[in-house]
Symmetry: C2
Subunit: 457 residues, 2 copies
């Protein structure tokens, strides 16, 4: 029997609430459309969907009719005098969107009316201007999109809004934040990237809190510049305002997936209390007279290459062959790659890697080293392997995240000469590089104790 | 004046201890050889080297003659009755090696006599057998080396040793541990990978503690199998015994850089107390009658590809063009890549990515998805982007680390048919995949709330 027959037999329809027994487990939820006619899909109260094979269901009963989730009714949109204006630019993603559980269809709420219906608290914080820039996966972001978003922020800033919220899919939210931080060279207002790990109409959604904390922070603090506003912990207490260039999505599904790396949060914002606690003091301040300056260009032929064991020179030659202009290497440890050491152990003739890296640079490419450790700093003067790479003109990326170095290099090559870009990549422009400690500045080199025998490098 | 003249003028020589003033800072340490004649290099008490430009030195004075660090005198090597034997296999790296600060030359201590001179406590724990397998950077590891190390472990195990310590450079220590865990299919004795972030003769070295804790754990616990023994915290209190397939180097320089990901430590070992505290109960036990089984083969044409924004199809086509047999994708979020959506925003015709992935698989390649979030689980049924990739036959890598999935795929393709490899990659073989929680096993799918307009996928 297929799902249609199964539902008919049990006098159920999509949208009903049902209790299902499978083995020793009982699940309760709303029946939602299933792609597979052999599987019943229940939307649980937790917000998750559970798929249950029809053959494994020992008992099913209707416990409620279920309600239809229709299109949000238009909320009154009177602008409230005395409230600042916050612009919300939508690029897609889970935030401010919802599912009609009865039909399974998706509909996106990009109108201020819908937003206010979903998050009435926003109405008390700010007058909202909501604009749809795109409805895309953040995975499909290209540098051109970053440039367009930066120009959209510029337009909003010139209207005199208190700040801008950019709603982005979470997969590349942190990468987009870093890229925007470079593209917006002078930013006199707060620009917060906000996403949601769970869709807005689910009980477990983080959308409301992230959005409301962002609006609070924009209107109530003196912060200016690009940053991220996401859950601080998995509980619904606080959001963290995170540095645009030093934050990474470090969990696939948790609501507090976004974490600062080699840095700390800028501030915490209480959801209920609306209390703002700054953890940093050295942030840029709002500047009513300041003008926004946008440099939206990026060089597209830039790549990120993660290092592993057992690599082949072709994996590096690819980038010179295909005329890439920039390459950020996500090396191991303090900033290393496989080398050019003849293999004494297996006696095999492996082709050498270093000449392939050299070729990329000699063909005009700029190569920058970062570390796949993520935490800590590249230190290429410690081991000979690092100094050899530096001698090939691979530039140390300091304590930058690989993704940040990648968007920075693309931005530098899009706006400066190659020689200027090479000078600027290791300099801190937007908080992407933390200064070394005083003693490090003194010129550290930690010697390699064990040097491979018979290796000329 | 160059360094030679500078030292002569100040009646100093390499090896002396000196106090140097530069601006407001005073540094004290041993004068060690410098590659740059304009820079004085001091080995500080912290173990770090500081390079100071001669022109910036306002004052220098000798505070001690310094001692010569010569070759270790041979220690007595009587085998002590009643003590178990532990084999140490050296592959290179900072551990059990030292620098002669007077000459700057490096010399490696691979003889048991030297080891016992450096770490006399080892003598009380076990009789040591020390063998030099290789002296290489862990960055230069290839799968052939992993096979050779596995066979060397097999030889030691057949001699009846209590356990094996493998000294490896830290850059790929965790990757080597995962690869060995697969290559050693049945492992009736403990095999611990040990490294050091600081060389053994430095005050701040972690070598002694890591080595001694490993020997203690091997001789005093009932644990069997491949694991990692490294600092548990940055203080010198305890080492952690870490799971071979679920550990990652997550800091470039800290001594406690190695952290479990989606898992916990197996046990903690007290350095002074020698106390062993198991955090897991479900580990494999020593088996005196058990035979070691080694499958040392790996398929070399397997690669790890990290996803970023703004990628080009050529970056995927490379792998079919170059006849790679396996590809582990380090995707975004729950397991995504850039897609094939026509770009409505920039109106540009970007070439599509998905056909390039499809081509790789149609040409006989096996593609596996992992997440660059590192923490959490790939869940490709949640968003359409994931299901589209699964429809191309990209296999979800569950909660495996990208590096672990990479060595596992190479090992599977080296030992099984392609179809078997495809079945086994998502199954837990060596603790590399944690089971889903009960409710997840029930067949979760979390629906995407916001679907891009006009996209056919």
């Amino acid at each position: 029997m297929d799902l249609e027959g199964f539902l008919r037999k049990n006098k159920l329809r999509e949208g009903n609430i049902a209790e299902v027994k499978r083995g020793n487990t009982t699940l309760r939820g709303t029946i939602v459309p299933s792609k597979d006619p052999a599987i019943l899909v229940l939307k649980l109260d937790s917000g998750y969907n559970a798929g249950i094979k029809l053959g494994e269901i020992s008992e099913i009963k209707k416990t409620g009719e279920g309600k239809r989730v229709g299109k949000a009714r238009a909320a009154s949109l009177k602008k409230r005098a005395g409230l600042p204006t916050v612009s919300i630019l939508h690029t897609g993603g889970t935030i401010v969107s919802r599912v009609d559980y009865r039909t399974g269809a998706v509909y996106s709420s990009f109108e201020p009316a819908d937003l206010l219906t979903m998050f009435p608290e926003l109405n008390e914080i700010a007058n909202l201007d909501s604009r749809l820039l795109a409805n895309m996966w953040s995975d499909d972001l290209r540098f051109e999109h970053i440039g367009l978003i930066a120009k959209a922020v510029e337009r909003e800033a010139k209207k005199g809004v208190a700040g801008v919220i950019i709603a982005v899919g979470t997969d590349n939210l942190a990468v987009a934040a870093a890229a925007l931080a470079f593209a917006i060279e002078k930013c006199p207002i707060p620009v917060l990237l906000v996403g949601a790990q769970r869709s807005s109409d689910r009980g477990s959604s983080d959308a409301a809190m992230n959005l409301i904390c962002a609006a609070s922070f924009i209107t109530k603090s003196d912060f200016a510049g690009v940053a991220i506003c996401m859950h601080h912990s998995s509980s619904d207490g606080k959001c963290a305002i995170l540095p645009a260039c030093k934050t990474r999505k470090l969990h696939t599904s948790r609501r507090d997936a976004f974490r600062p790396v080699n840095d700390e949060a800028i501030a915490l914002v209480g959801y209920n209390s609306k209390e703002i606690k700054f953890l940093k003091k050295d942030y840029a301040r709002k500047d009513k007279k300041g003008k926004i300056v946008v440099k939206p260009n990026f060089e597209g032929r830039v790549a990120l290459l993660k290092i592993s064991i057992n690599m082949f020179p072709e994996q590096f030659e690819f980038f010179s062959r295909n005329k890439f202009k920039g390459l950020v290497i996500e090396g191991t440890g303090l900033g290393h790659t496989p080398g050019h050491c003849p293999d004494e152990i297996t006696k095999k003739e492996h082709k050498e890697i270093f000449p392939a890296i050299k070729k990329f640079i000699q063909h005009g490419g700029v190569a920058v080293m970062t570390s796949q450790c993520l935490f800590g700093r590249v230190q290429m003067h410690v081991y000979d392997k690092g100094t050899d790479l530096m001698n090939l003109d691979v530039i140390p990326g300091e304590d930058m995240l690989p993704e940040t170095a990648f968007v920075k290099l693309a931005w530098l090559l899009g706006n400066y000469s190659k020689e200027e870009a090479k000078k600027l990549i290791g300099k801190n422009l937007r908080g992407e590089i933390k200064p070394r400690t005083e003693i490090e500045e003194f010129g550290f080199e930690e010697k390699q104790a064990s040097k491979p025998k018979g290796c000329s490098h």
